[in-house]
């Protein structure tokens, strides 16, 4: 795939100050991800995966370097602007689903649209369609507590898609699921990829990594390896 550039990291460094000592979570990362790519980020724990995902997800700003998201430099934006970008351009899928307990399925899916100030009628129909798409059309009024893990993660995916994001960020999306549900969720990711979504997924499971187009391996805060899988 060689569509337009979705993610471009230039010399991105993230340093945490822990009292006297400095912790270099990311060191001079250069990464280019194009539209439609399905990238797995792998590596041992403590290698900087989460930090990289936080930077990519605009939850955290790099200490140094530039981050271009869809061609726009977002590394120096204000907190409010970053919130806007998260709400309009990014879709998050979490390991522990992170649904809001007091809201039902339909409302959970609509949360990103709500913060975009998009009308209820419109967002309801979009959310309903997405619930259907992930196979939860019959459960739109259920609360998260009433759903299985696999179903909750489907809601999570629907929520990540509701704003039609530029980039989907998934953090161990099958980490809390049994293998059968995990396979179903991964099947959904394959489907999304086939529809041309750009996906970045953090995982430590090599099997899952191999379903992606490309594997980026991190170690001690820098990219150790960046390989393309033979498929696709």
């Amino acid at each position: 795939m060689n569509g337009r550039s979705i993610v471009a990291l230039r010399q991105v460094t993230k340093t945490y100050h822990m009292g006297e000592s400095e912790l270099h979570a990311l060191r001079d990362i250069d990464l280019e991800i194009n539209e439609g790519e399905y990238v797995a980020i792998m590596g041992p724990s403590g290698c900087g995966k989460s930090t990289l995902l936080n930077v990519l997800g605009c939850l955290d700003r790099p200490t140094r370097g530039a981050y271009l998201l869809g061609g726009r430099d977002v590394s120096t934006l204000s907190d409010d602007d970053l919130s806007d970008i998260r709400g309009s351009q990014l879709g998050f899928i979490f390991q522990s689903y992170n649904l809001i307990q007091q809201l039902n399925v339909l409302e959970n899916i609509q949360v990103p649209l709500y913060y975009q100030g998009r009308g209820t009628a419109e967002s309801r129909s979009v959310a309903h369609a997405l619930a259907e798409r992930v196979g939860l059309g019959q459960r739109i009024h259920h609360k998260p507590m009433e759903l299985s893990g696999g179903q909750q993660q489907r809601v999570g995916i629907a929520r990540a898609l509701v704003n039609d994001p530029l980039l989907l960020l998934a953090d161990e999306p099958t980490g809390n699921l049994d293998s059968a549900s995990g396979v179903e969720i991964l099947g959904l990711f394959d489907e999304l990829r086939a529809n041309g979504k750009t996906i970045i997924m953090v995982t430590h499971d090599p099997d899952i990594g191999h379903r992606a187009d490309r594997i980026v391996r991190l170690r001690d805060g820098h990219i150790e390896e960046d390989v393309r899988n033979g498929r696709a």
């Binding site: 939850l59 998260r86 709400g87 007091q102 709500y114 913060y115 975009q116 100030g117 209820t120």
Partner: protein, 446 residues
């Protein structure tokens, strides 16, 4: 092309957003309804006690002021009192004590003080009033024809006597409602005769009960029973022309007391001075006092200035309101702290939710609004419940305890808006704490 329309759409969306934020607030609070309810209680009690106490205070104050006002704020009331017994020289069993206001005093006041508009002297004699075999122990008050006007007495039936009848020493009387009810339970008293002592008086009118003149009764013991015209609101009273009273009863009253006879010589029991202008009342009172005291060795009169009483009542009420305000402020403060406490706990508990919302595009402002709405809902609902209870309690008090209560419209409004204000003030800190969380940290929170 889309300028104003876009603006309109935008405002519609934000309106929808606020509405949904409020709905979400209710939903979240409902999820922990027990906790929300208990949190609200502080505000409920605060607001309800403020509204109820204000209503009771207002009612009591109103009654006191109304009573004083009915005495006439332009009036100065002079009353004869028996001087304290220090000057009693004789130890005889029977003697005549002479004291009180005299006709010369009245004349002097009338002639020397220009600000005095009207003067209504009066005599009060305790006696039985008869209609055939029916009897009432009443105060016979000898008054002048303009007495009702000065005293703001309303004639409900018939009329008061005229100056001509007054000058003619005619045996007429106007009776109070209590007397009318007792003596003429089945028919109108007008045109009928009542007997007082040995004389008959024709009833020409009925008046409504007169206001008592404040808490000075019995100031010098039982000796002034006759002068005690303010025993209570519904004391039986009969009004006769002062001229007739003077004629029929004379100036010496004899009373039997503990085996000894006591005679009193009192020309006038009371005199009501009406002052032309309200501003002159207090000064006139001072002048009257100096005129009267220069004429006598001992103080055998007392002076009641309703205007002063009114001012005093107003001051008392002000103090009362200040104390109440302080109590209210403290109770609302305590309620507010309770709310803040719970909201802080809630923020900590919902750290993860905050992280999720931030990740999904919520700005700091959105988080602040969400938590502020929750506190305002808590305090506002608490305030509303408090207002409702606070309005019901005075009604119940009025109903069961027969105490006057007044719920002024501003009291519930004030209490309610204060509770809303408390919600905002005590909600800001927890909301800011929620909004300033690092989204990454918040998401990691278990």
């Amino acid at each position: 092309m889309a300028g104003p329309r876009l603006q309109k759409l935008k405002s519609l969306f934000t309106l929808g957003k606020t509405r949904r934020a409020v709905a979400l607030g209710f939903k979240t609070l409902w999820l922990h309804r027990m906790r929300s309810f208990l949190t609200m209680l502080g505000i409920v009690f605060g607001v309800c006690s403020v509204v109820a106490m204000l209503a009771v205070g207002e009612g009591a104050g109103f009654e006191a002021q109304e009573q004083i006002r009915r005495l006439g704020s332009q009036n100065i009331i002079l009353r004869s009192i028996k001087p304290t017994d220090t000057e009693r020289i004789s130890t005889e069993q029977s003697r005549i004590s002479e004291y009180g206001l005299r006709y010369d005093d009245v004349k002097r006041i009338q002639d020397t003080i220009p600000s005095v508009k009207v003067l209504a002297p009066g005599r009060i004699i305790r006696n039985h009033v008869w209609n055939a075999t029916r009897r009432v122990d009443a105060e016979i008050i000898g008054v002048v024809p303009w007495y009702p006007e000065v005293r703001k007495l309303r004639v409900t039936e018939g009329r008061f006597f005229t100056p001509v009848e007054y000058e003619g020493y005619v045996n007429l009387c106007v009776i109070g409602m209590t007397v009318a009810d007792h003596l003429f339970p089945f028919s109108s008293p007008l045109g009928r005769n009542v007997r007082i002592g040995t004389d008959y008086y024709k009833v020409v009118g009925v008046v409504e009960p007169e206001a008592s003149s404040g808490g000075t009764n019995g100031s010098s013991g039982e000796g002034q029973a006759a002068g005690n015209s303010m025993a209570n609101d519904y004391a039986p009273r009969v009004y006769i022309p002062l001229t007739a009273a003077r004629n029929r009863f004379g100036e010496t009253l004899i009373r039997q007391r503990q085996g000894s006879f006591e005679a009193e010589r009192v020309e006038l029991h009371e005199a009501i001075v009406q002052v032309d202008r309200l501003e002159d009342v207090e000064e006139t009172a001072l002048v009257i006092d100096s005129i009267l005291s220069s004429q006598r060795r001992s103080k055998d009169y007392e002076m009641v200035v309703p205007l002063e009483l009114l001012r005093q009542a107003e001051r008392t009420k002000q103090i009362f309101n200040t104390v109440l305000g302080a109590i209210a402020a403290i109770s609302l403060l305590v309620g507010g702290i309770g709310i803040m406490n719970i909201m802080l706990a809630s923020v900590t508990e919902r750290t993860r939710e905050i992280g999720i919302r931030r990740a999904l595009g919520a700005k700091k402002r959105d988080i602040i609004v969400q938590f502020l709405i929750e506190t305002v809902i808590l305090s506002g609902t608490g305030g509303l419940i408090g207002v409702i209870i606070g309005v019901v309690i005075p009604i119940a008090i009025s109903h069961f305890a027969e105490m006057k209560t007044i719920v002024t419209p501003w009291a519930p409004m004030l209490a309610f808006s204060i509770s809303g204000f408390v919600g905002i003030v005590f909600g800001i800190y927890p909301a800011l704490r929620a909004a300033n969380m690092d989204p990454v940290e918040a998401l990691r929170h278990e």
